[in-house]
Each structure stands twice: as C-alpha cells, then as structure tokens.
C-alpha cells in the first residue's frame, strides 16, 4: 500500500502543499489547557443524570447561562456534532440519519445530531448502546437523553426545523421552547451596527422571550429561577469575553502571535461552557502567552508573509490540518467571521446586574444575523484592523447560513484590493472537502498577492 504521508513533500506536515516552506503552525500552548477544560465539561455532562440533574438539548446561540443559573446540564447539538467530528466519530450518527432518510444536503450538524437522537432512542428502547457494532459509537452512548429542548437559532431557518424534528422524534413528549431571534435586516433609514429602531425593537423582543425562557425552566423543574446566579455566570463570561478581545487586539502585531485556529480551539469556552472563574483564567493564560510572544516578536506562523481572513464555518474534521496548511505557505489567518464576530463579541453591552437585554443583543449579532451591508461593513473593519491581504471563503456545503453572503463579501473585498479564494468543505462531513482543490487555489492566491505587491 502506498503511504501517502511518507511520500508527502513535507513529511512533518502532511497538510502542506507541494510549494511553500512546509512549516507547521505554532499553536498557543494554553489551548492544551483549554482542551482539558472542554473534556472536563463533557465528562461532567455524561454524569449529569446520575447526579440527578435534568438535561437540556439546545441549538443555536449561547444561552447556557440560563441553564447554568438553574442548575441544569446542557448539550449544544452543534457542539456535540463538532465534538464527534473533531474526534472522527461522527460516521455512526450520520449513517443512522441517512438510514432514516435525511438527505446528505442537510446541515451535517443536524444530520449528526438527529442520527445521535435515533441511536439514543433505539438504545433506550432496546437496552443496548446505539450503533454498538461500531467502536466509534462508544462516545455517543454516553450522551444523556433530554428532559427539555430549547431552540434559539438566529438567522438559519434550518436550525429551528432541526430541533422541531428532535422534538417530534421524541414523540412530542419532551417540553420544547423556541426563542425567535429575528434577522437584523437593516433596511430602515436609521439602521446601523448596534443602533436604530429595528435594533431596539428586536432587543426588546428577544429580551421578553428570554424572560419567558426562565419561566419555562421553572415550570419544568418546579424550582424558582435564580436571577442572581445568572448575573454571577454572566460576570465571568463578560470578563472572559473582554480578555478575548484584548487577545484579538494583541494579534494586530506583526507577526501575529496567534491565529484564527487558536480562536477556533477557544470557541467552546464562551459558546457553551459554564461561566466560571475557569474560563476567565483560561483567557488570561491565552492573553499572557500572546503578550509574551508579542514582546519576543514571535509569530504563530514562521516567516509570516501574508495575513488572511477566514470566512465561513469551521471544518471540524480539519482544524489542525488547515492550521498547518496555511502556516506552511507563510500565511497567517489572523481573524475570521465565525470567531471574531461571535461569542459575546460585544461584552460592553452586558450589565451584569441586569444582564438579559445585553445577552439578547449579543445573541442578535451572531455572525450571520445581519443583513449583508452591515455584516460586510464589520468584516471590512476587521480586515482593516488586522491588515489583511486576502480572504479565505470556506464554503461549508450544506450550511446556507454561513455561505449566503459569501459572493457579496468577496465582491466587497475585491473593491478594497483584497484577494479571495473559495474552497468547499463542511462542518462535520469530511466528504465535501477536497484537499488538492484548496492547494491549487491557495497557490494561485499567493501568486496573485505576490504580483500585487510587486506592482505596488
């Protein structure tokens, strides 16, 4: 059998294309600690039922502070699918989904999560672990079944339909609560980023629903909602989010001390992990390590020549692979829509003494919930801030939510003299990714950027 890795042009970096230096990315050391925190979170979740905690399955934006305040355990469907994909353990769930008839063109997060539900229900009915014939199912068998379902999906209609299917799959017997997070279309004359009548009305609307969510949790547990605990959780989250922004600011340095892929590895901590001192400490560690790199002039990419912006969802099957690929050609991916325009990116909106409205507002500004003009304005702002040369558009195939405006984004980038490339992949279905297509397009983009510099 041919050993493709042994024959790769850069044996230490199989992700590297045939050109470039073959250097690997120098990931932040603190992300290893971050990985341990994530594993601790999942271990805690797996024990929830034995400890008498009720479990919420939810999808969409980062609403877990409500669950945390109420002493619940929670499963973010997308995060669970990403977790399986990152461990290359998504196939049994996707096979179960496909066997029921879910089309491959549906969101692969959803297909994985629905497949998980199918196998979990089967396991409960038959008393055996779902997909027990496949060793990759061992992790899946640990996921606790839901006692409640909550959906809070900005922008993507598919998100609500997916949870609706989970609800129906469990025979409509598990209570469900939908938080509608409407699009900020930005069509009114006074529309702006975080301003205008639409912004104020939508902030009120989502706030009202979040208060109703607390009542739903009370109703389904028989316990009073603890608003002080919500404030406490949000105080940690706000501080962690502020530290993350400080980290981002430090990455304006040349060479950039950390990349998009480090921030991808740090999404979970603000997206779905509990608001505690642990996440504050984690982002403080990141900040300290980054500050040290800046002081020493160290970059996350050796001999940084190009600075790129990553648009689109992450390909969770390929986090390290893509980090190494870009590093191998001297390209530092310094920012991204999914990382820098999401996950409490406006902590200043949160009043920890009365956090609901600020939470609603952060939910409203998820990375795709703006109409294109304001979204593109924000992307341009980030590209200017980080002195970006070009944009990498990850076309996550069955994710219309994050591919929707990509042609408009690329058009806007071109008008500002920035190159862009498109490559197809997916969040949790590796079959959509074609490595050599990215290699070729990346090489072409680099040549274009070099030509642009020569002509300048």
């Amino acid at each position: 059998m041919t050993n493709l890795i042994a024959e790769a042009p850069f044996k230490d970096n199989p992700a590297a294309p045939a050109y470039g230096t073959g250097e690997r990315a120098d990931r932040l050391k603190a992300t290893r600690h971050g990985g341990k925190l994530v594993n601790d979170y999942w271990a805690d979740l797996f024990a929830a039922k034995q400890e008498g905690r009720k479990v919420v399955w939810y999808n969409g934006t980062h609403i877990p502070p409500f669950f945390q305040a109420h002493g619940l355990a929670w499963v973010h469907g997308e995060a669970w699918s990403a977790y399986l994909a990152a461990k290359h353990g998504e196939a049994p769930a996707q096979k179960a989904g496909e066997a029921r008839g879910y089309d491959r063109e549906l969101c692969s997060y959803a297909r994985t999560h629905l497949g998980q539900a199918i196998l979990s229900i089967k396991a409960a009915q038959e008393g055996v672990a779902g997909g027990a014939d496949d060793a990759r199912s061992l992790t899946m068998a640990k996921l606790p079944m839901p006692d409640m379902i909550v959906n809070a999906y900005p922008y993507c209609s598919s998100g609500q339909q997916w949870d609706d299917m989970v609800y129906r799959m469990f025979g409509k017997k598990i209570p469900i609560f939908n938080v509608s997070v409407p699009l900020l279309w930005g069509g009114r004359k006074d529309a702006g980023y975080l301003s205008g009548s639409e912004w104020e009305e939508r902030s009120d609307y989502v706030s009202k629903q979040l208060r109703a969510l607390a009542a739903f949790l009370e109703e389904n547990t028989g316990r009073k909602f603890d608003w002080d605990r919500l404030s406490e959780a949000m105080s940690y989250i706000k501080r962690a989010a502020e530290l993350r922004l400080e980290c981002f600011d430090l990455c304006e340095a040349r060479p950039a001390p950390a990349t998009f892929f480090d921030w991808i590895a740090s999404i979970a901590h603000l997206n779905f992990m509990p608001g505690t001192q642990a996440i504050v400490d984690y982002f403080q560690m990141l900040r300290d390590e980054i500050a040290g790199r800046v002081a020493r002039g160290e970059g996350a990419v050796k001999n940084e020549k190009y600075r790129l912006f990553f648009d689109g969802m992450m390909n969770w099957n390929r986090v390290g692979w893509l980090a190494d690929k870009f590093a191998s050609v001297g390209a530092s991916v310094v920012a991204g829509r999914y990382t820098h325009m999401a996950f409490w990116q406006e902590p200043g909106l949160i009043d920890v003494n009365d956090p609901v409205r600020g939470m609603a507002q952060n939910y409203l500004i998820c990375p795709n919930n703006h109409g294109a003009p304001i979204m593109i304005e924000q992307i341009n702002r980030l590209c200017d801030k980080f002195a970006v040369d070009g944009l990498v558009m990850h076309v996550s195939r069955p994710c219309r939510g994050m591919t929707n405006q990509q042609f408009l984004i690329a058009d806007a980038a071109k008008r500002r003299g920035r190159q862009s490339l498109f490559f197809e992949g997916d969040v949790a279905d590796d079959s959509f990714y074609k490595d050599e297509l990215l290699n070729t397009r990346l090489e072409a983009m680099i040549e274009s950027m070099d030509a642009q510099r020569r002509a300048a």
């Binding site: 063109e105 609500q160 699009l183 279309w185």
Partner: protein, 381 residues
C-alpha cells in the same frame, strides 16, 4: 373556459411581461413578493400590483456569479433573473418568510438593485409561541407603515378591507375549481390547475376573478366517469413543479385528484376574516393557515404534516401519494422521513420525486411513475 385558460397560460409563461404591460397601461407600481407565507392584500391596498416572483424556464447562467449551485432552483432562478435585469421593473420587494436561502436572495437583490426598497418584515415561524399573535400583528403594522412610506400616502383601512374581500373571493373560486375537479365535474389537467393558481399569484385580482368565474361556470352538472389511478400530489414549496412532470403522471395513467402544493391548495387554503379589522384578519390568517395545510417551514406543535396528508389522501380517495421535493429544499428534506414512515405504516403507496431547475430526464421519470401507478393500482384492487 378554453380562452380563460389560454389567458392564464400567457400570464404564467411571462409573469413580468404581464406586470410591465399592466404598469405601462395603468401606472400601478409592481411589487414583487417572495413566497410562501406573505399576503398580497396589503400591497394591493396600496394600489400596487403584487406579483409573487416565479422561477422561470431559462437556464441559470449569469446568476451563478451570485448564488451557489447547492441552493434550490427557485433561489438560483431568481438570482439569475435579477442578474439578467428582469427585476428592474420592480418598484419594491416584500418578504417575511424565514427561509435561509431566500434571505440570501433578498440580500443579493438589495445589492444589485440599490434603489429598490426591500421591505423585509420577518414573520414569526414558531406559531405556537404565546406571543405569536402579537408579534404577527406588529409585523403587519410595520409593513403597513412601510408601504405607506413607499407610496407617499396613507392606506385606508377600507381599502385594505376591500383587498381582503377580493382575494377571499379569488381563493374561494380557486377552491371551487379544486372541488369540482375532485368531483369529476370540471375536466382540468394538472397543468391547467397549476395555471389557475399560478396566474392568481401574478394577475390583477379582479381580472383573475372574472376569468375564474368563467371556468367554474363551465362545470358539468354530473361527474364524468372516473379513469386512472387517483393520485395526491404533495410538497413542492415556493416554485411550481414543471408542467411536464404533471403531464407524465397523467400520461402514465395517473389521475391527479388533489394536492397540497404551494402552486395548488396550499396557496388558497385559507380566507381572511372579513369581519375583523384588517391587521387582525391578516394576523389570524397567517397563524391559522398552517392548520389547514401544515408547512415544514414553520414550527407548530398544533400541526402535523404527515397526519394532514394521511387525512387528505383518505378524503380525496387517492390510491397513492406522489411527493414532489425541490432539490436542496431543507424544510422538506427534514420532514420527508416522517411522511415516508407514516405512509409505510399504513401501506399507502408513495413515491418521492426530487425535482431540479434543470436536468429532469422525463423518460427515466416515466418508468418510475409507471411502476408506482402499477403498484398503487394492484394494492387498491
């Protein structure tokens, strides 16, 4: 009847040519409306011609620069029409459906027609929420004020009430045509039924009513003898199924007796309450129509599409169900497994046909439909 159908066909073949001609003749604004839940009544009350934008038959060429190939044919076709300049005649676009692909298309329209107002007022898609009614009222109030701003004058409640009455009358006549066809008293093909509904999405409502009255008036007093396998058609959101598909079903021996297609019963299922104040009538209409024809784009604990279909197929005495699913239509793809299981459990024959804007090999389809109808015929025997 034949002349009325010919007129409908001409309108359906070139919807925007019809709209442009009417604009030139009457000076009325043309307001493009995106499917599937947004009412036409308020735009009509504003003195405009509301036109639900349709997929056209042109291959997608220049549109490819602004839409990915894995979007549904409807969205790709709209983008292509936009890039070909077909929408230059529009004075505004209205929409409110929560479909992630439509949101993309609307943004592309906004980018390429910067001087055309796009009035987006998102309708709540979680219909059983306690605040659904109030939110829906607010949505229509906002639309009302935005339309007033567009036309530069107030819209009188009496004008809105008149528009509601007209569209109710139009829906009632279309439902009458459905009923008469089901009874065998009106000999209409699937293609002709589609023309009736599709033209209702495009034409001036009063002109449509006048032609429909001719058609309904042509019903025979007694049913014609039944021939063929009775078939119920389901699905096909947003865009009309290609008439050739309906032809194939009928040529193979199928007798289409009923449907829940958007270009069919779904569009005409529900009237507005004329006794209510217009905003209240619009809001109730939106929230109630999902109970008459459940839609997978909406989350609604009160409604089950699979149960609805089992019931509808039974009432229509259909011998089989043909599901027409637009490729890449996410809500339909989510719901299809439930429908399949429900019909499997009751041993009712069903066939899934995935449709595309291009690439519909009709000969291959014919073989599948013939086989399906043979199964349905034998099972019913």
């Amino acid at each position: 009847m034949r002349q009325a159908l010919q007129r409908f066909e001409a309108v359906c073949d070139a919807p925007l040519a019809y709209a442009r001609a009417l604009k030139a003749e009457s000076g009325r604004r043309i307001i493009g409306v995106l499917p599937m839940q947004f009412p036409l009544e308020l735009a009509h009350a504003a003195g405009a011609l509301p036109v639900i934008l349709q997929e056209d038959r042109e291959p997608i060429t220049v549109g490819q620069s602004q839409v990915f190939t894995f979007y549904c044919g409807y969205n790709r076709s709209l983008t292509d029409q936009l890039m070909r300049g077909e929408f230059d005649c529009l004075d505004a676009v209205l929409f409110g459906d929560h479909c992630v692909q439509l949101l993309a298309t609307a943004d592309v329209i906004r980018a390429h027609l910067p001087n055309t107002p796009i009035l987006f007022n998102q309708l709540i898609s979680s219909l059983a929420a306690p605040w659904a009614m109030e939110e829906t009222r607010n949505t229509f109030r906002q639309l009302w004020s935005e339309l007033e701003e567009l036309i530069g004058r107030p819209i009188a409640a009496a004008d809105a009430a008149r528009s509601i009455r007209l569209y109710n009358r139009d829906r009632q006549l279309m439902r009458a045509a459905f009923d008469l066809r089901r009874e065998g008293r009106l000999n209409l093909t699937g293609r002709q039924m589609q023309l009736i509904v599709k033209s209702g999405m495009i034409m001036d409502v009063e002109a449509h009513i006048a032609l429909l009255e001719e058609i309904v008036g042509a019903a025979a007093p007694t049913p014609a003898p039944e021939t063929g396998v009775r078939v119920y058609l389901s699905g096909h959101y947003c865009q009309a199924p290609k008439p050739e598909i309906l032809d194939v079903i009928e040529e193979c021996g199928g007798h289409i007796v009923d449907d829940d297609l958007y270009h069919g019963f779904r569009f005409i299922s529900t009237d507005m309450d004329e006794t209510l104040e217009p905003v209240e009538a619009l809001a109730r209409w939106y929230l109630e129509r999902n109970l008459r024809a459940p839609c997978a784009t909406l989350s609604d604990e009160r409604a089950d599409w699979d149960d609805f279909l089992l019931d509808a197929v039974g009432k229509a005495r259909a011998q089989g169900l043909i599901i027409l699913q637009v490729k890449y239509c996410e809500p339909h793809m989510y719901y299809y497994p439930e429908i399949k299981e429900a019909f499997d459990q009751r041993a009712i024959p069903h066939l899934l046909i995935e449709t595309e804007h291009e690439q519909m090999p009709l000969e291959a389809l014919k073989t599948r439909v013939e086989t399906f109808l043979e199964i349905a015929r034998r099972r019913a025997a």
